[in-house]
Amino acid sequence: MVGELNNAVIRLEDIHKVYDLGEVKVPALQGINLEIGPREFVAIMGASGSGKSTLMNLIGCLDRPTSGRYLLEGTDVSQLDSRARAQIRNRKIGFVFQQFNLLARTTALENVELPTIYAGLSPQERHSGAHAALKLVGLEAREDHFPSQLSGGQQQRVAVARALINRPSILLADEPTGNLDSHTSVEIMDLLTQLNHEQGLLVILVTHEADIAAYAQRLVLVRDGLILRDVHVRDRQEAYEVVKDLHALPTESVN
C-alpha cells in the first residue's frame, strides 16, 4: 500500500490519465498507486496500449496526470507548469530512449553536454562533466565521434552518459535495448546494472522483453491502465520465473 516507504523517491497516488480526443475520452491510466525507493531497479512491463508508456511519461515529467498526486522526492510535481517540469527533467531525471535520440552531426562529447547547457553550468564544468560521464560508460576515446560514426551500442552508451551528467535521481530507460542486437543488449543492461549497484542509481526500465526485465529486482506489470502485479525478486533466476508467470497470464483484462 502507498505510504509504506518513508524515503520514497517516487510516490504515485491514485494517478489517472485521460486523453481527451475531442469526441471521445480515452482513459490511459485508471488509478495507479506506486512507490519506488532509492537504489531500486524496477522494470515496468506491459503490452503496447497497456498504459506503460503513459506511466513512463508521467514519471519522467514529460506529461501531467489528469488527477492524482505524484510526489518526486517528497515534492508534488503533478501540476507543475511546463517550465518547472523542464527543470525537473533537467536536474532529477535522465532519459534513455529506444532510438538513442542523439543529436546528429554533434560529437559524443557535445551530446553528453546538452543537459548541462540547460542547467546553466559554466563551459569548464560542462566539459569536465561530459568527460567524466563518457569515461563512466567507457567511451572516453570516442569523444569527438559523431553518432553516425558510432555503433548502436556505443550510441546508447553516449545516451546513458548524457542521462547521467546532471546526476539525476532517476534513470528512466524506455526500451533501451529495442534497437540493439542481443550481444549489445547484454552490454547495455550490464552497464545499467552496474550503475544501479555501484552508484546506487535508481533505474526504471520500461520494456516488454522478458529477458531484459529479468535484470530488475522488482517487476511491475501494467495492464489496462492499472498495476496488475508488483513483485520484488531476489535474483535473475527468480525474475525469469516471475516474468514467465506474468506472461502466462491471460492477455485479456482480468476484471
Binding site: L62, A86, F95, L103, G120
Partner: protein
C-alpha cells in the same frame, strides 16, 4: 541558457545548411541593399536641390511680370508678356520696402552669338551688377560692366563659363568683340562657373549685359520681365511679399477684386517645395525597396518553419533533457535574427557599394546618411524578430512526447 551558448547553437544550426542559410539571407541582403541604395539616391537628389537653392540665396524675392491667373483681353499669356513691370517699380520697392536691401532688374532675350567661326544659341540677361553680387557670383577674369555702361546702354557683356568655353576655347575672351543678334558686344569679363540650377539648367550657359542695352537694342521694349530682390533675411523675404504686392498693386493701379498683373515668389517657398518633393521621392524609393525587404522576411519565416518541422525530434530531445519553452523559442528566434542581421550587414555593405557605383557611373548624386544605415540595420533585425517569432513560437509549443516520437 546563456546567450553565448544560444548564439553558438544557432550558428551551428545555420552552418549545417549553408546553402539554405545563404539563400535565405540573400532575400534580406537584396532588401536592405535596395533600401540603402534607393534612399541614398533620394537623399542625394534632395541634398543637391537644397544646395543649389542655397547657392541661389534663400533671401531672394522674385517678382515676375504677369500672373498665371490674369489674362490680357481674355487670353492668358506667359508670365513675361505683361508690359507693366518697370525699373521704376524696382526703385520704388527699394525705397519703400525696408525689408528689401538690394534688387536687380531682369530682361531676357534668346539670341545667336557669334565669335569668329564659332556660334552658339544662348540666353542674354539684361540686368545690373547687383544681380551678380546678390548671387555672390564673381568674375573669373576681366570685370563686370559698370553703372556708366548701364546709363549709356553700352554694348558690353559678361560671359558665363559655358558660353566662354564654347566661343573661345583656349583663347582669352577679355576685350574681344562678339556678335549678339549681329550687334557687336565687347566682352568685359568671364564669370566663375555656377553649375546646374535647381531646375536642372546650366546656369553658366548665359550672357549678362546692361539691362538698358538689352531693352533698347536687343528687344526694343522699356519694361522688365522680372525683378530679383534680396531681403535682409529668410524670414524677411516672406514678410516682404505682401508689402511688395500692395505697393505694386497701387503703382499698377489695380482695382480691388482684380488679379495681380505680377507674381511675387520667395526662394524659401521654392526651397520648401523642393524639399517636400525630395522627401516624397526618398520616401517612395525607400518604400518600394522596403517591399523587397518584406519579401526577404517572408523568406526567413518560410525557411524557419521548414527548419522547425525538420528538427522536431531535436526539439523533443532538447525538451526531454531540460530545455524550457523559452529556451527553444529563444534558440529559433536567435537563428532567425542571426540570418536577418548578417543579411542586413551584407546588404548595408552592398548598398554602400551600389550607391558609390550609382554616383560614379550614372553620375547621380547619392548620399548615404548614418540614419538610413541605422534604420536599415534596425529594420533587418526587426524583420528577423517579426518573421522569426511565429516559427519560434511553434517550435516552443511542441509537445515533447509527440516531438520525440516524430519520424
Amino acid at each position: 541558457m546563456e546567450y553565448g551558448v544560444t548564439l553558438r547553437v544557432a550558428a551551428r544550426a545555420l552552418a549545417r545548411n549553408k546553402m539554405r542559410s545563404a539563400l535565405t539571407m540573400l532575400g534580406i541582403v537584396i532588401g536592405v541593399c535596395a533600401v540603402i541604395a534607393m534612399v541614398s539616391v533620394g537623399q542625394g537628389a534632395e541634398r543637391q536641390v537644397q544646395q543649389q537653392i542655397e547657392s541661389f540665396g534663400t533671401n531672394v524675392v522674385y517678382i515676375s511680370a504677369g500672373s498665371p491667373s490674369r489674362g490680357v483681353g481674355g487670353m492668358r499669356f506667359g508670365s513675361w508678356a505683361v508690359k507693366t513691370l518697370t525699373n521704376d517699380d524696382m526703385e520704388a520697392i527699394l525705397k519703400e520696402v525696408p525689408l528689401i536691401w538690394d534688387a536687380a532688374p531682369g530682361v531676357m532675350e534668346s539670341a545667336q552669338v557669334v565669335f569668329g567661326n564659332q556660334n552658339w544659341f544662348t540666353r542674354v540677361m539684361g540686368t545690373t551688377p547687383n544681380y551678380l553680387s546678390m548671387r555672390n557670383w564673381a568674375v573669373a577674369a576681366g570685370a563686370i560692366f559698370t553703372e556708366d555702361d548701364i546709363n549709356a546702354a553700352a554694348n558690353v557683356c559678361v560671359l558665363g563659363k559655358t558660353v566662354a568655353d564654347l566661343l573661345f576655347g583656349e583663347q582669352n575672351p577679355i576685350g574681344q568683340t562678339i556678335r549678339i543678334k549681329s550687334l557687336p558686344f565687347r566682352v568685359a569679363g568671364v564669370l566663375t562657373p555656377k553649375g546646374q540650377s535647381a531646375m536642372g539648367d546650366d546656369q553658366d550657359d548665359r550672357i549678362f549685359a546692361p539691362y538698358s542695352t538689352v531693352q533698347k537694342k536687343l528687344k526694343g521694349q522699356d519694361w522688365l520681365q522680372f525683378i530679383s530682390a534680396s531681403a535682409i533675411s529668410r524670414e524677411a523675404s516672406v514678410a516682404a511679399v505682401p508689402q511688395i504686392e500692395s505697393l505694386l498693386r497701387e503703382r499698377h493701379r489695380i482695382r480691388l477684386g482684380e488679379d495681380n498683373d505680377f507674381q511675387v515668389r520667395t526662394q524659401s517657398e521654392v526651397a520648401d517645395l523642393a524639399q517636400a518633393t525630395g522627401r516624397i521621392m526618398t520616401l517612395l524609393l525607400g518604400s518600394i525597396a522596403s517591399i523587397s525587404l518584406l519579401v526577404g522576411g517572408i523568406g526567413i519565416m518560410n525557411i524557419m518553419l521548414v527548419s522547425v518541422t525538420e528538427r522536431t525530434r531535436e526539439i523533443g530531445i532538447r525538451m526531454a533533457v531540460g530545455a524550457t519553452e523559452d529556451d527553444i523559442q529563444r534558440q529559433f528566434l536567435v537563428e532567425a535574427v542571426t540570418l536577418s542581421l548578417f543579411g542586413g550587414a551584407i546588404g548595408i555593405a552592398l548598398g554602400l557599394v551600389f550607391s558609390v557605383l550609382i554616383s560614379n557611373f550614372l553620375q547621380w548624386p547619392t548620399l548615404v546618411s548614418p540614419a538610413a544605415v541605422g534604420m536599415a540595420a534596425t529594420f533587418s533585425v526587426a524583420v528577423g524578430i517579426f518573421f522569426g517569432y511565429y516559427p519560434a513560437r511553434k517550435a516552443a509549443r511542441l509537445d515533447p512526447i509527440e516531438a520525440l516520437r516524430y519520424e
